[in-house]
């Protein structure tokens, strides 16, 4: 199957998943009343938006329906889109790829198992398809068993370079080497993998800061993108993740993975609202092609879609 067909098929699959059927709750003809608002609250809480944000959203919804004199349930969808987009404002972030001949440098971080390494493979694939030929991956997870081998296999599959050290080596040294090589060989992209770490671990967060520092020193400027990879099935802990990773090394964007399942990833709404960090990508599968841009419209639709599978 050609790449284009795959993409089309992938999009169709997600479209079916996403747009699906809008929940019974918002069916045409139904009146807006307390019961409906209750059901909406349940859908939102059930989508991991969190009770605080949900309560705020529902009361905003209530006010707006009153002010505008809305009475039909199916009109609520438009309103919802509005109030959620309000909170996801500027959430649709895009990468600022460099045009000055220097490599665009990405540092990928997150808790254990969230999808960092796979996301790197997907991004590399994506950039290759956009025509970028010289891409360097840095195997900065020197801790987890076979993490280097994992990224190595992806590098071969996608057809990009890999810079690595032996297991147990210094992650900042690997990151440094990768950037050094990229600068010398005029590569266009550097994607640095890091070991998964829980955001509450002091030493590991210090290690992350060091990687960031060492790379920026070699670059003589800031890293272009520090992306936090969040697992879409995560609940309210994602807020702590975003907060503490952002405190350690300012994050410039969020990637939310595993949205090919039935989890909704609603926790990014409070995160986007408080941190003002844009969501840049969505992971929708385990293959290199399974990456999408984040679209807040689609996201809201999905939140209120029944799992029509």
């Amino acid at each position: 199957m050609s790449w284009l067909d795959r993409l089309k098929q992938g999009l169709k699959k997600t479209q079916e998943n996403l747009v699906g059927k809008i929940a019974q709750t918002l069916r045409p003809g139904r009146r807006i009343d307390a019961e409906l608002l209750n059901e909406l609250e349940e859908i939102m809480v059930g989508g991991d938006i969190g009770i605080e944000t949900t309560t705020a959203l529902v009361s905003e919804l209530k006010n707006k329906t009153a002010i505008r004199g809305l009475q039909e349930a199916d009109q609520v969808m438009g309103l919802l889109r509005e109030v959620v987009s309000e909170r996801l404002k500027k959430a649709e972030g895009r990468f600022a790829l460099r045009t000055d001949g220097q490599p665009t440098v990405f540092l990928i971080l997150g808790v254990n198992g969230s999808g960092k390494t796979t996301t790197i493979a997907k991004m590399a694939q994506h950039f290759k398809e956009l025509g970028y030929q010289k891409i360097v991956l840095a195997a900065g997870d020197t801790f987890r068993a076979a993490a280097i081998e994992q990224l190595g296999i992806w590098a071969d599959r996608v057809g990009v370079q890999l810079v690595k050290t032996t297991a147990g080596g210094d992650p900042s040294a690997v990151a440094f080497d990768a950037v050094d090589r990229a600068l010398k060989e005029q590569a266009q992209m550097v994607l640095i993998d890091t070991a998964g770490r829980l955001q509450t671990k002091f030493n590991l967060m210090e290690e992350l800061k060091k990687i960031n520092r060492v790379v920026e020193k070699r670059l003589g400027r800031e890293i272009d993108e520090r992306l936090l990879v969040l697992d879409g099935t995560t609940g309210q802990n994602a807020i702590s993740q975003a907060k503490l990773f952002n405190e350690a090394v300012k994050i410039t964007g969020i990637v939310i993975t595993k949205l090919d399942g039935t989890a909704k990833g609603g926790v990014i709404i409070p995160i986007a609202a408080t941190l003002k960090t844009p969501i840049k990508l969505v992971g929708v599968g385990e293959e290199a092609e399974d990456l999408k841009e984040f679209k807040s419209e689609e996201f809201v639709e999905a939140l209120f879609a029944t799992n029509g599978k």
Partner: protein
């Protein structure tokens, strides 16, 4: 202690009581707090609904509204009910067959491979079993290599021959039978519970292996989705238990309740780190408190232990156990903890303690007082008479009353630790990871 929920409930119920006899409606108002706490902890909303209803019936049945301390009583019912659902007693692995097959299942990245290695190590070293690991994840790049490396690290063999996951698994079973292994642990590829093809593959493995245990490995940070995951895996495979991973972080872990409630299956182990030794049996009481955000002293100790020097932490735990905790140890602890940076930051990580302000100056004062004591005095505070206290006070630039206050607080803390002695204290979390 820092029992946020009790405080909130007391607040609500006290307010109503002042207006007269408590009514069912007042109770409902109080239970709203319970609902919020559980939702914030990621317990699934349907599970919360059912849970709160049950608590209400119990509370009404026990005439709690007439009690003098309705807030505390309701919290007690909540806690007991949580423990009830999470399972009252420890649940052992069923290892009666030879070989006993343990099938590890779950979503991508939940910790199956790590948990497989942890269990293998546990069974081989603590239970003296001959263990074989099977690497059937042919999906994720280098997944087999990952298990092989872990197997090598813990000194246990890994079987990885075969072209399909089912082939590897059945091959491993033959191998285990021929070579008299006691236990076969089968690691599998991660899969979404809605992936029909891959769920069918697990069913086939289940048929062919007839496992003694099917363990669902789930991430403690999982949100509302936990019920769908647990329900789907249980419906398809009849899981026998759950392993909850990544509890070394600050996740409240409401997923534990969601999963236990919808499957009725016990949580058997928890993962508390990335290393093969970071496995513990599950304690329902501690989980209940964690979910309720009772940032208790056990949590604090755990937190400290996770970040402090391993040897020191073990020493600390041992001393608390043996009631030999002295001011000397206290000083070491303070120094250790302060090495980690501002305390306020540290406390923020403990549920319910985010708002606690720590007076760093007061801590400086405490440290100064301790520094002004001799080692002998720190080891045997009972020798501290009036003149010694005066010396210490002037040496550290404080009043004698400050010295007394510190001694009194220390004595109280010691008493509290004594009460904890019966409970289990976490062991073995090395520096860093």
């Amino acid at each position: 202690m820092f029992n946020v929920l009790t405080e909130k409930l007391n607040g609500v119920l006290e307010k109503f009581r002042r207006q007269g006899q408590l009514t069912e409606k007042d109770l409902d108002e109080g239970l709203r707090e319970v609902r919020l706490v559980l939702l914030e902890a990621d317990v699934n909303y349907k599970v919360v609904k059912k849970f709160v209803d049950e608590v209400k019936q119990k509370a009404l049945g026990e005439n709690i509204l007439q009690s003098l301390t309705p807030g505390q009583q309701v919290v007690k019912v909540v806690r007991d009910e949580l423990v009830q659902i999470l399972g009252q007693k420890q649940s052992e692995l069923n290892l009666s067959r030879y070989p006993s097959v343990l099938l590890m299942v779950g979503l991508q990245g939940s910790g199956k491979t790590t948990a497989s290695a942890k269990l293998a190590k546990h069974l081989a070293t603590k239970v003296d079993k001959k263990v074989l690991l099977a690497a059937t994840d042919l999906q994720r790049p280098a997944a087999i290599e990952q298990l092989k490396q872990l197997g090598h690290r813990i000194g246990q063999p890994v079987f990885a021959e075969g072209k399909t996951p089912v082939q590897v698994a059945t091959g491993a079973l033959d191998h285990a039978k021929k070579n008299a292994f006691d236990v076969l642990i089968v690691d599998t590829a991660g899969r979404l519970q809605i992936n029909e093809e891959l769920m069918a593959e697990l069913e086939e493995m289940n048929q062919k292996l007839e496992p003694s245990e099917i363990l669902l490995v789930a991430d403690a940070m999982t949100g509302q989705e936990a019920v769908n995951i647990a329900q789907a895996f249980d419906t398809r495979l009849k899981i026998s238990g759950i392993i909850l991973t990544k509890l070394d972080g600050d996740a409240r872990g409401g997923a534990a309740l969601s999963m236990a409630e919808v499957t009725g299956k016990p949580i058997k182990f928890i993962g508390i780190g990335e290393k093969p030794e970071d496995l513990e049996v599950f304690y329902p009481e501690r989980m209940a408190e964690r979910i309720l955000g009772m940032g208790d002293i056990l949590g604090l100790i755990e937190q400290a232990e996770a970040q402090l020097d391993h040897a020191d932490a073990e020493d600390f735990v041992r001393k608390v156990r043996e009631d030999k905790f002295s001011l000397e140890d206290f000083r070491t602890q303070i120094r250790q903890v302060r090495k980690l940076g501002p305390l306020t930051k540290l406390l923020q990580k403990i549920p319910g303690m985010g708002q606690v302000e720590v007076d760093e100056k007061a801590l400086n004062r405490v440290e100064a007082i301790l520094n002004s004591m001799t080692r002998h005095e720190r080891l045997r505070p009972e020798v501290l008479n009036g003149s010694r206290k005066k010396r210490i006070a002037s040496g550290s630039g404080v009043q004698v009353s400050d010295v007394n206050k510190l001694l009194k607080r220390f004595e109280e803390a010691r008493k509290m630790m004594k009460q904890l002695k019966g409970k289990r204290l976490p062991m073995g979390m090395p520096f860093g990871r």
